[in-house]
């Protein structure tokens, strides 16, 4: 059972359970135990599973380690400490691993010094083991294993098949998983959850300790941490210390009225505001949502305020930068050399970055938990307030940020989604398991289903993965090439195939796909990078934007793109967006606010009254409240306010009579992606036309050359037929193709490292298309293809919540209201101006080719 720990132990009780030397060290360093420690230390001492959720910098790691160190001290004191691993610490980042290793020095050295006074040398060892660990270090660890092993999820799964080292794991009593929230919502976490079950199978019960930032629901994360036994979730206590760290958050509007001010002025004012805030603080950390946004801010701050900022005191930190540059930024930050650092997502996680007294978020971070995580990077000392300022850059942004502020203050956090039944990750683990030993098919199924992520795995899916891994999709005589395992259905067993199995497994596991970017060269000079999917779409003569400049595409060779400078509007929109999606929960809160505002305007409440309401409801200042009021009033007067009770569908005719059907579906882009593609598919079939789609967090539009009735088609969509429609709609899309490549990589159908060579991603991309075509022709239900589709509709899009929306419409909880406009309504403005994202194709290949053929021939005549 998962339970909230409500029992808080007294300082005295806790000290009593600790070894006296540990107790003495603690008292020499700290005044008293933190709340998290008061709740959690005793449970860990009693070897109970615990999930600790508290803000970064609240001493979480020490909470987790303290009783473990105490127990190791006791063992050492009694000369019972063996050369075995007692505790495994797992974090998502190698950098965090290195930090923890260093940070453990303080308690371990401190306690050792106390022990030395009694002529005792403790010799508690710790070591980091990751993909970067040298062969020498690894040999050393084998001879003298660390008592505390610090590692990553991927390395853990390799250790499980390491013939000698796995023996050293047999004594593990504790496993700590740090930043568990950042693993649980993606395939790395799914992968880890199976490694934990494999470890449990190998060595029996151990205590699981999860450390998490503020997330919701904690029960789900706890279930993910501990897994299931006989279909029941294992016991776990939740220690939730979230609102003790005081927050000082404000939403700032750079200009008085963001609705009326033009974007250039707003932009100018934003930099002045940024500079002002930075100058008033010691060290500022700025978060943007994209890598390009990060670069822009660094560039503009330096340009606009050359006296304040130069390369010595301002740096960027994002995932496209080299490891060395990022490391340099981190250490400069730690040493207090920098005035300001601008980051995208890369500094969100808990690596030690020294003292930050202000965090600025430029534009909406799209979810409450992300806002808290980012702002929590400031005031990195216990009892110190975290200070965060969210600067809004536009009207929709203003509403979003205000609702984030409201939810952060009131403690409503968006819920996290844990991917389940991922067949590609399962393939990898079945391979790993087969390398460990022979397995009974049913028994292995039971072990797998102990993971939260596979508790509902169907036996069909399980057997389809076994069949794939056994190479049953190829002819019998070819299996020696393709089969990774053998399956004997008579004896009900499976096991590994081939001598290289362990090597192949160890060099190809993991769930993070290799992404590649093509280098863009202009006149022999590298001007930037574009994603490979984007490159694929480019044809001679196309123009596109890169780093603020417009280029004309000439040709591509391998992963290098040749361009020349160009003018005029780009012909190709950058639809491979790296933008973060708005969380569904937050979107619903915005819709509720819209409903409130609609009611007030409908009943003719006075401006003063409504502005007071806004200020009270959203905790925003005068400027913001005024801007919000104007924005809603315009929409109310001109059109209709969409809300959680009313889905407004706007028919708008654009330039050249082009028809747009705009759905004001503020559900976040993941839901809108699913809804829009499904509707577009129905429209395309019905009217036999290509349909253009554009999607944002606030809605989507469909557009076509001729007249289309989007509402009618939308009514044809139901919570029942959504999934099938969507699967048809994503067929043959680039999204599916690129997800398939990742899934084929994870399930070892594409081996990145094979026969001593690293395969370049660019080559993989082209060749994986051949593989996809082959797989589609062979078996439309092939497990890896199925997984790629699941990943697209469940993880990349959000079909679950899209279904919920359709159910609301079916039950009448949400009405559909049609409006017609000559110019797009204020709420539709941002969406219409962003250009289209994709075109849904209605024709078969041959129909398409013939139509194009005809068009070209007609032109000649």
């Amino acid at each position: 059972m998962i339970r909230k720990q409500t029992k808080k132990y007294s300082q005295k009780e806790i000290h009593k359970t600790l070894h006296p030397w540990v107790s003495e060290w603690f008292n020499s360093k700290f005044e008293k135990f933190t709340p998290a420690q008061e709740y959690a230390i005793m449970d860990i001492h009693k070897q109970k599973n615990v999930l600790i959720s508290s803000p970064t910098g609240s001493g979480k790691t020490l909470t987790a380690f303290l009783s473990i160190i105490s127990e190791l001290t006791s063992l050492s004191d009694e000369n019972l400490l063996e050369d075995k691993i007692y505790c495994i610490y797992i974090s998502p980042l190698k950098a965090l691993d290195n930090d923890i290793e260093k940070n453990l020095n303080e308690p371990l050295d401190g306690i050792n010094k106390i022990a030395l006074k009694e002529n005792k040398e403790l010799n508690i060892r710790k070591a980091v083991r990751t993909g970067d660990t040298s062969q020498y270090e690894r040999n050393k660890m084998l001879k003298k294993p660390p008592h505390i092993l610090i590692t990553t999820p991927e390395t853990l799964s390799i250790l499980l098949v390491a013939p000698k080292f796995r023996e050293k794991l047999s004594n593990v009593k504790y496993v700590i998983i740090d930043e568990i929230h950042s693993l649980a919502d993606n395939k790395r976490g799914v992968h880890l959850s199976l490694s934990l079950e494999r470890l449990q199978h190998l060595i029996g019960n151990y205590t699981r300790i999860g450390l998490s930032a503020t997330v919701y629901p904690l029960e789900k994360v706890a279930s993910f941490l501990v897994g299931y036994e006989y279909g029941q979730v294992r016991d776990c206590f939740i220690v939730d210390i979230n609102y003790l760290k005081q927050l000082d958050i404000k939403v700032l509007c750079p200009v008085e009225d963001i609705i009326l001010t033009n974007p250039e002025e707003t932009n100018l004012a934003m930099y002045e505001l940024l500079d002002d805030l930075i100058q008033k603080h010691e060290t500022t950390l700025i978060f943007t949502n994209t890598r390009s946004g990060t670069e822009n801010i660094v560039f503009n701050l330096k340009r606009k305020f050359p006296n304040h900022y130069d390369s010595n005191n301002i740096m960027a930190h994002h995932s496209s930068l080299s490891k060395e540059i990022r490391f340099e930024t981190e250490s400069n930050l730690k040493e207090g050399k920098l005035k300001v650092v601008v980051s995208s997502t890369s500094l969100e996680l808990g690596i030690d970055i020294g003292h930050i007294d202000l965090v600025i978020l430029v534009s909406s971070p799209k979810s409450v938990s992300r806002a808290l995580q980012r702002i929590g990077r400031s005031g990195h000392q216990l009892h110190e307030k975290s200070k965060g300022r969210i600067i809004v850059v536009g009207r929709d942004d203003l509403i979003e940020c205000s609702l984030i502020l409201k939810n952060a203050i009131e403690g409503h956090i968006d819920s996290l989604n844990i991917p389940c039944n991922c067949l590609d990750v399962l393939s990898q683990h079945i391979y790993g398991m087969s390398i460990e030993n022979k397995w009974d098919i049913d028994y292995a199924f039971d072990v797998i289903r102990k993971s939260y992520c596979y508790k509902d795995l169907s036996s069909e899916d399980y057997f389809s993965v076994l069949s794939y891994m056994a190479g049953e999709y190829t002819s019998l005589e070819e299996r020696y090439v393709y089969a990774k395992i053998w399956v004997d259905y008579d004896s009900n067993q499976f096991g590994k195939r081939g001598k290289l199995a362990r090597m192949l497994y160890s060099t190809n596991i993991g769930t993070i796909p290799d992404r590649s970017a093509a280098v863009v060269k202009c006149g022999g000079k590298v001007v930037g990078r574009i994603e490979e999917e984007f490159m694929e779409k480019l044809q001679k003569g196309d123009t596109f934007v890169l780093g603020g400049n417009i280029y004309r595409f000439n040709y591509a060779r391998g992963m290098s793109v040749n361009v020349s400078p160009a003018n005029g509007p780009p012909t190709i929109p950058s639809w491979f967006s790296e933008e973060l999606p708005l969380s569904f929960d937050l979107s619903l809160d915005i819709q509720r606010f819209r409903a409130n505002m609609d009611g007030k305007l409908y009943y003719g409440r006075s401006k003063t009254e409504i502005i007071e309401f806004i200020q009270e409801y959203l905790y925003v200042d005068d400027n913001a409240a005024n801007s919000i009021f104007e924005y809603f009033r315009e929409q109310f007067l001109y059109a209709e306010i969409p809300s959680n009770q009313r889905l407004v569908v706007e028919f708008y005719t654009g330039f050249g009579g082009r028809k747009f059907v705009i759905f004001h579906s503020l559900f976040g882009r993941r839901v809108n992606d699913a809804l829009s593609r499904a509707v577009a598919y129905i429209v395309a079939k019905k009217y036999k036309r290509d349909v253009m789609i554009s999607i944002s967090d606030n809605g989507f539009y469909l557009s076509s050359e001729g007249k289309i009735n989007g509402i009618e088609s939308f009514y044809e969509l139901s919570s029942e037929n959504l999934e099938n429609t969507l699967i048809n709609a994503i067929d043959k899309t680039e999204t599916l193709a690129s997800r398939f490549r990742h899934c084929a990589g994870r399930s070892l159908m594409i081996l990145r490292r094979y026969k001593g060579q690293d395969k370049s991603v660019g080559r993989q991309q082209v060749k994986s298309k051949i593989l996809l075509k082959f797989v589609e022709n062979m078996d439309n239900e092939f497990s890896i293809l199925k997984e790629a589709r699941r990943e697209v509709i469940e993880d990349y899009m959000d079909i679950k919540n899209a279904k919920r929306v359709l159910q609301w419409i079916e039950s009448g909880q949400m009405e559909i209201k049609q409006i017609n406009t000559k110019i797009p309504s204020p709420f539709a403005f941002n969406l219409v101006s962003q250009g289209y994202l994709d075109v849904l194709k209605y024709e078969d290949r041959i129909e398409f080719i013939k139509r194009m053929h005809q068009a070209i021939i007609n032109q000649i005549d």
Binding site: E705, I770, F774
Partner: protein, 245 residues
């Protein structure tokens, strides 16, 4: 299935060319799957049967008794892989059974093809002259041309074109026909089903016989599922593709 006349007695029949009693196909790249396997892409062998099926349909339709393979029968440059041993052997047996005359032209991938072909008493030649005026050659390197040659037929390029409407792009295999100095050149599409080929509108040209400057005047014949579609000149397609839909 239709014949589409390019010029004189030179006809397109699906992915092949028929000249009187000669059937010409090019760039089969047998063994490609195994080479993909070595790169870590674990794709099973699927091409061979497809190639055989397609060829047999064309053969029945064309009723040709002589066949010319215009280079790159197999894929590996530097060796003969296991798949190649098996498939090239089988394929040559098939050809010698089905045709009265089998002519193999050496492509840049054919460094070791002769080891298999010689067992079947088939020689690899660098080029083959039909009717004293049509020269078949793989096309990866330039050679000196006799004055009697009027037409060149090359492979190597694997030409295809990307048809584009909005964001949709579909690639289709094509024949190209255009001038080469004082002669005419025909470029054949590849006779394999791994990919459509390389987009001549988009990518750099491979064969030294083709020059970027004059490719725009080349005529394009697309082939899709046994059907041949005449697209006019490359410049037309580029114009159309540029127009917004």
């Amino acid at each position: 299935m239709q014949y589409t006349k390019i010029i004189d007695n030179i006809n397109i029949i699906d992915l092949g060319i028929k000249i009187d009693d000669y059937l010409i196909i090019s760039d089969l790249h047998l063994g490609y799957e195994e080479s993909l396997n070595k790169e870590g892409i674990m794709i099973p062998k699927f091409q061979y049967n497809k190639i055989l099926d397609r060829l047999s349909e064309i053969q029945i339709e064309s009723a040709c008794t002589k066949i010319i393979i215009n280079g790159d029968l197999k894929h590996e440059f530097g060796k003969i892989s296991k798949q190649e041993w098996i498939e090239v052997n089988k394929f040559l047996d098939y050809l010698t059974n089905e045709f009265l005359e089998v002519i193999l032209i050496k492509g840049n991938h054919d460094n070791f093809t002769n080891i298999i072909s010689e067992k079947k008493n088939l020689k690899l030649c660098d080029s083959y002259l039909i009717n004293d005026k049509i020269l078949c050659i793989h096309g990866h390197k330039l050679i000196k041309l006799e004055t009697n040659v009027e037409y060149l037929i090359i492979g190597h390029e694997h030409p295809c074109i990307g048809l584009r409407s909005g964001e949709r792009v579909e690639k289709i295999k094509t024949f190209l026909y255009g001038p080469y100095n004082d002669k005419k050149i025909i470029v054949m599409p590849s006779f394999n089903f791994i990919s459509e080929g390389s987009d001549i509108l988009h990518e750099k040209l491979l064969s030294p016989f083709l020059k970027k400057e004059n490719i725009y005047d080349f005529e394009v014949y697309g082939v899709e599922n046994f059907e041949v579609l005449f697209f006019g000149k490359i410049s037309n397609i580029l114009k159309k593709n540029k127009k917004k839909v």
